[in-house]
Structures are given as C-alpha cells and as structure tokens.
C-alpha cells in the first residue's frame, strides 16, 4: 500500500451544492505518465488541489506517498513538483532570483540540471519576470518544479503557451524524466495530441466523474470506429453493442464503439451480411466520442 504514489478513495468535493469531483478512486504505482483529460470545468484543477492538500474533500480520502493529502509532511512535499495552470512567479524578481528563492527551500536542488534546461529551453534568466512572455514564464515555472528532481511531477497545462519547438523539447525532457520508470507524472492538458505521445495511462474526467482510467494503448484498442458497407439498405435503427456514436446512411454506416475486440469482427460481418472495417482512432477522436 505504501508503494502507491497516489491513492484516492471515493474522493468527493462539493462547492455550494454542486459536486465538482465525484467518487474519485485511483491507485497509482510509480513510473506511470498519466494524461488527464477533460473539458473545462470537468474537475481537473480541483483534483490537483485535493491531492496536493490545497483544498479539502467533502468526503473520501487521498494520499500521496502514503501521507494523507490533508496533512502532507515536508518530506512528502519535497518529493512533489507542481506546475500550476497560472504560475506563481514573483514579477519583480529576475528568473535567476526566483530560481534561487525556490532552490533555497529545497536541499536537494540540482543547479546543473536547471542551468542545462534554461539554456536548452532558452529561458532569459537575467530579465525581470514581469517582462517575460507567457511562454517564457511557463518554462520558468516548470524549471521551478523540476530543480529538486521530484518523484511525482504534477503538471496543469504546462505547455499551453509554448510554441511547437519549445513544446517538443519540453516533452522530450518529460520523457527523459519518465525514462527510468521510477518517477511518476500527472499531466493535464487540452493538447490531446501531446498526451498521446507522452502518456502511458489516461484518465478521462467528465463532469467531475472519472469515466475512463487505464493504459493509453488499451484505450486506443478498445474504442474504435466500425465502418459497415452492405449491398442492401441497412436498418436505420441499427445499433452496435457498446455504441458511443452511430450514423446509418443507406447502405453504409459508421459507429464508434467501446470495449471492442477483434473477435467481434467475424460474427458482425456474418450478422450484417456486409463488409465491416475497423478504424483505430486518435486520442482526440476518442475524447470527443466519450463526450458525445
């Protein structure tokens, strides 16, 4: 049990009668890169606040490194790095001063790592933070969370302001961190294509509920589009098992289904007396289908 990096049991939070996170239960071993997806207001930031002890649950419980989120110890906090959606940098400081301030709070700070990354990511450390662009601030904010080499890195939209080149470099660094399978990343982003690259696991939050959790590969193999082409008009009310979306038009039909296995293919062809092809879907399509 103490091997879990994150554990949550029926974690729930309501604000003013509205439930923003409902019955959230997970158990995360070390080494996963979890992509957290959900529409605006789905509960992503609330989840981070609860896990990291910035907010209290209405019911349920969570822990990080075996320590209750409500009372995280200094030792547990020292193993966590957090990049919030809006940075908490001090505008009047220079990047160097800000990093120095953060470094002074962390005994395990690695200056050589930060030197290398600030060069590679082209972060202008000598300028005052209030003169930096959104992307530069975002990079600096990420550096602040990386310097103590956290075992758990929590990222809330870390790359939204980065250009494609900077985003790719950022992701490569994330993957280098994940490369030894001992550190854990929880990464929320609307840039679903990025998560498709870096994530090993995906959590889908919808209106405060965790509607899918598991391996990304498994998600992509289970939610697929099925194309049907027949020599005869298809039943307009045709539905497939576990259908998320469907459209029948004359002799052709397209369905998006969950829980797909290739064993379903042959019986389906026979049943419908039609050609049936299966198309794998990119994560963004899967996300849209889960919200249809």
């Amino acid at each position: 049990m103490s091997d879990s990096v994150i554990r949550a049991q029926s974690l729930t939070r309501s604000i003013g009668g509205r439930t923003v996170l409902r019955d959230f239960t997970v158990d995360v071993p070390a080494g996963q890169v979890i992509g957290l997806v959900g529409k605006n207001g789905a509960g992503k930031s609330t989840l981070f606040d609860l896990l990291l002890g910035f907010a209290l649950p209405t019911s349920g419980q969570s822990s990080v490194f075996g320590v209750d989120s409500k009372a995280l110890t200094a030792a547990a906090k020292a193993r966590i790095g957090f990049v919030p959606q809006s940075d908490e940098l001090v505008g009047l400081l220079t990047g160097t001063q800000q990093l120095g301030l953060i470094a002074s709070l962390h005994p395990g700070w690695d200056p050589s790592l930060i030197d290398r990354l600030s060069r590679e990511w082209e972060v202008p450390l000598d300028r005052r933070i209030n003169t930096l662009s959104g992307g530069e601030r975002q990079k600096l904010s990420t550096l602040c969370a990386l310097g103590h080499k956290p075992d758990l890195l929590v990222l809330d939209e870390p790359a939204a302001s980065l250009d494609p080149v900077a985003r790719r470099r950022f992701m490569q660094e994330i993957l280098a961190i994940a490369g030894d399978f001992t550190r854990t990343l929880l990464y929320a982003s609307h840039i679903v294509g990025d998560l498709e690259r870096v994530a090993s696991h995906i959590w889908v939050l919808r209106q405060g509920s965790l509607v899918w959790q598991g391996e990304l590969d498994q998600l992509k193999e289970s939610i697929v589009r099925v194309h049907v082409r027949a020599d005869h008009d298809l039943d307009r009310n045709l539905r497939l098992p576990n259908q998320l979306q469907g459209r029948v038009q004359g002799r052709t039909a397209d369905f998006t289904v969950s829980d797909w296995t290739d064993a379903q293919l042959a019986p389906l062809r026979a049943d419908l007396n039609a050609q049936v092809e299966v198309e794998p879907l990119e994560l963004e399509e899967i996300f849209l289908a889960l919200h249809a």
Binding site: L175, A178, D180, G193, R197, V198, D217, K220, H227, E277
Partner: protein
C-alpha cells in the same frame, strides 16, 4: 530508423512491433544488430518509454529480439536472415486491407488497382 505516428490511432507499441518485424524479415536488421535503448528511442521520437518497452518485450517473447544484460537489445541470433515468402506476405496483409477498402469506396476496379500498384512499383525502381 523508425517512423512513428502517435496520432494515427494505431497504438505506438504496435507500430514499433510491426516495423521491427518487417525490418528483420526483410533482412535490413541482421542477427546481432543493436536496437536503440528504450530511453533513446522514447526521447528521440518523443513517445512514452513504457510503450517502447512493451514493444521490445513482445518481440523478445516472440524470439525476434534478445535482451542482453547491461547492453542494448539485439536481433536474436540463429534466426534466418529472411523469413519465408508466405510469412512476409502475411505481414503485408494489414496494409492491403485499407488500400482495397479505399479503392472500393472510390469505385476503382481490381484491375485498375493492380495497374496502379504496378506503376508505383516501377516508379520506385527508377
């Protein structure tokens, strides 16, 4: 060495497994050839290391790759450099199905499709 399309819908580990299998059956990857480390491959292509590691593990289980302690994975020794024609054709089948589907949707006949493949083949020879 590999062409990965994270957004193609096909899980990355499957893309890797298919490509490595093809390279080995085609003889481009000879027995003893070293594969990039999980970490290198993951960082270079900006894809998750777990999915790379899964691909290697599957190929190892099939006996195509060999794990060497503290050293890079290699193409397993003792395998014939090239697998039989039937096996290689089988590997191409997944590529053939979508092509035929697309041709049918465009109402292209079998003969015209065959002609197209022949033409493309000849162009690549030039």
């Amino acid at each position: 060495m590999f062409t990965l399309h994270p957004q193609s819908g096909v899980p990355i580990y499957r893309q890797l497994v298919d490509q490595i299998r093809r390279l080995i059956s085609g003889g481009q990857l000879q027995p003893g050839a070293e594969l990039p480390s999980v970490r290198d491959l993951a960082v270079t292509h900006a894809v998750n290391p777990m999915t790379v590691s899964k691909a290697y593990a599957l190929l190892e289980a099939e006996g195509l790759l060999q794990r060497n302690r503290g050293k890079p994975m290699t193409v397993a020794a003792g395998r014939k450099a090239q697998t039989s024609l039937a096996q290689r054709i089988k590997q191409l089948e997944p590529q053939a199905a979508p092509l035929v589907t697309a041709a049918r949707q465009l109402e292209i006949t079998e003969r015209d499709l065959t002609a197209l493949i022949k033409r493309t083949w000849e162009q690549q020879d030039e």
